[in-house]
Symmetry: C4
Amino acid sequence: MANFKGHALPGSFFLIVGLWWSVKYPLKYFHQKGKSSRLTHHYQRLEITEAAIRTLFSVVGMLAEQFVPDGPHLHLSHEDHWVKLSNWQHSTMYLFFGVSGVVDVLTSLLTHIPLGLDRLVMAVAAANEGFLLYHHVHHRPPLDQHIHSLLLCAVFAGAVSLTLEVILRDNIVLELFRTSLVILQGTWFWQIGFVLFPLFGAPEWDQEDDANIMFITMCFCWHYLAALCIVAVSYSLVYGFLTRVKRPGDREIIGIQKLKSDHTYQKALLSGSDED
Amino acid sequence: MANFKGHALPGSFFLIVGLWWSVKYPLKYFHQKGKSSRLTHHYQRLEITEAAIRTLFSVVGMLAEQFVPDGPHLHLSHEDHWVKLSNWQHSTMYLFFGVSGVVDVLTSLLTHIPLGLDRLVMAVAAANEGFLLYHHVHHRPPLDQHIHSLLLCAVFAGAVSLTLEVILRDNIVLELFRTSLVILQGTWFWQIGFVLFPLFGAPEWDQEDDANIMFITMCFCWHYLAALCIVAVSYSLVYGFLTRVKRPGDREIIGIQKLKSDHTYQKALLSGSDED
Amino acid sequence: MANFKGHALPGSFFLIVGLWWSVKYPLKYFHQKGKSSRLTHHYQRLEITEAAIRTLFSVVGMLAEQFVPDGPHLHLSHEDHWVKLSNWQHSTMYLFFGVSGVVDVLTSLLTHIPLGLDRLVMAVAAANEGFLLYHHVHHRPPLDQHIHSLLLCAVFAGAVSLTLEVILRDNIVLELFRTSLVILQGTWFWQIGFVLFPLFGAPEWDQEDDANIMFITMCFCWHYLAALCIVAVSYSLVYGFLTRVKRPGDREIIGIQKLKSDHTYQKALLSGSDED
Amino acid sequence: MANFKGHALPGSFFLIVGLWWSVKYPLKYFHQKGKSSRLTHHYQRLEITEAAIRTLFSVVGMLAEQFVPDGPHLHLSHEDHWVKLSNWQHSTMYLFFGVSGVVDVLTSLLTHIPLGLDRLVMAVAAANEGFLLYHHVHHRPPLDQHIHSLLLCAVFAGAVSLTLEVILRDNIVLELFRTSLVILQGTWFWQIGFVLFPLFGAPEWDQEDDANIMFITMCFCWHYLAALCIVAVSYSLVYGFLTRVKRPGDREIIGIQKLKSDHTYQKALLSGSDED
């Protein structure tokens, strides 16, 4: 949907996921979640719920793109010309994220699916979004092209970091990095919406003006800085919260978990196997 | 051969290899194939047969490109201008895959050839295919150029993943990823054939129309999704089949194999050596 | 500030940091600094001081860009057109390096911040500098564009090497590589200043002349060679100095530290954790 | 020197180094050279001799570029325009390879220089060659540009593989890959010479003809295939030779060396240190 809602919707999805991750990964990191810990069960259920919700988001997005009044309503071609291709492309992007969500659910549920496959499919979903965005923005005014192509940096950086996670699973630094990029995507989609479809009678942006393009580029950096701050803040909040509720005896459990997680890592690195 | 057959032939080759891999790698993964296992011998013979067949495919492809009625028949230049360069380029692509097949056979047969060399040469063959494709499509109509250059994504992604396998050998995630990309190539070659050379009096595609290019781009994503599904299905079928035929006592054998494969991995990582 | 000072300032900053690193990292390497060593405390204080100074540099740079006579003085837009965007972009670059400095301080001070985060944020700061530089130099004369875009090689190479250090922490080779690139940036900023804003009535450079561009390209290589020599020299000086002052008993301490640093490395590689 | 000799000289240098490596690395691999082996001393002396010869080559190249009749004779600028910039650029390429040679000598001689630094500097030398080549070929006829830019593939692939060797030292697969790329460079320099400066009254190539460019691209692939075959042949010859001269008792020594080389590897991976 080439309108404000069409950018606010994915923006909100990415934002929600990003904010949730900025809480989840620090939590997991501090708990040194291990297979045998009394917390494992909760985390596994969390993972599944999260993946299910991500899948839900994608389905909502796909339906929205298809069945908005000016949508294609599942008609692909009509009198041999294509119908609403950009809606179809958006649906495809949502579709891949939906698949990634399903794979996450399966990887958490079924122990015979190799660890790391979930990350790979998520990387594929991100790469696919970038791939379609890249071929998406020809024949648009310069500002429109530029503001969309800035997304590519966030998307492809995310894809690369996810690919690294296939091998370096449970690396907190990569997880926080990915989290910040997802938040960036979320806020940036909102930014795109406000720039291209000004609300409340705000002035139109001159889409040819070079100064606007220079400003938007810088603005993108500020968004990322904001994303980094959000991650930092919730990281500290989680730490503060945990140190408050910490009970004696956690220390050595952490020690034990550490070994386990190393072991998991080795398996993931060597043959991506998962016999837990 | 710039016609339907010229794309159907490589398409079928890639498709057959991809489908076979989507069965082989899950099998290997579940059996945790190890050097000393009662299955090793079978797997080694499998590897050799597969590599031999891939070599055969390449030879067939080379001969086809050379000796089709409108082919160069091994004449490279004639009255100082080059003869049928695009056939020659196709032959070169097949040639590299043939070499890769031969190296695979040798690596499985001869223990003094370092593990990982087979993967490297296969990566070189893929990179070479992409390299020639990239310099291949100038001065063609936009759709023709675009539909061929989409192949580059699959080809180079495959080359990168193969290069990773030089170091992270027997990583099931990378192997499934490569498998999906090979299936993608196979189906896409067929797609190219149908788009550029419509059969059965199907309507010609307008090669200048931008909507067609946008659709083809999205179509490429759908092909990849299909490839992922194929891999997922045969993965599940293999698992279902194995769990049905599993015998008691497999468990600990798996445990043993695991250590072995780690060891193999270490050797591959450290010095690519292979003394089995 | 598009003048000589505007390039001399960052040049000096990078140069100072680079020269200091070319002393620090060899020192650390030869001392095989470990957590329990009698030197750890000193090194930790060093790290914090260094990071604080880097933060200070960035603040100075930001203020300079904002409050020079022809600066924006914190006004972003005025009568709906943007004010001094290039100063704002420079401030943004400094800002990210400032954030990286702060994160370094925190990582050294607080043990619950994962090791490697400091490197990641520094990589982000470098990538951000390159990103803004890349979108910064349109609509300038060719020489101006070229001399700035040469910086991108140094900047992005630095970002990649820093990203590697997230995983391969305390790898002396990567640290020396990064050091040489920072020195290169420093000297190159000075070079840019001299070329674009000749001092003391030196002759203007013809910004359209192709020979000048060819020469500047080669000149960039010579700068890097000089940077390599500087690193080599201070590496040898540090070694000479340490061998002179070496006391008996250091040997085995080195042995001990080695194991420790390996251990740190493992932790960094596996889960980026840091419980010292 | 933009003539046949100017391409034959570097071609021969790369060819000699490549052929020598195609013997050295298999030898080293089969001997599983370890620090304590009775062969270590010989290998170390070999390394130093080789590096010295590489340095010599570079010096010869630099002098040739400077002091050929139509060379700059060390004059950089004359009446404020630059003298013979392309000769200067070639000298710079040789210079970096010379530095890499010197660093190799030092790394083999001095135990306090971290392992892997030699590889890094060699990677820098290759990257620098590619960097200058890339900015070197503007304003030339298409064929000239294309045939030079094909070199970039070999050069940058070599740089990447060398960078990998900083971390994965003594990985035979990477070493053979690098060897094949160096041989490719050697043969390709000769090819460039023959194409751009036909000898013995051979017919001129039409530098605008697209068919020539297509052919040269394919020709590049054939050169690489030839390089791969050369490496394969000398690998087999070395193996055959060693198996003939093998004495009893080598087996277990190999075993011992293996562990040692792993250890070296670990050290290289962890902190690039080298205490032998």
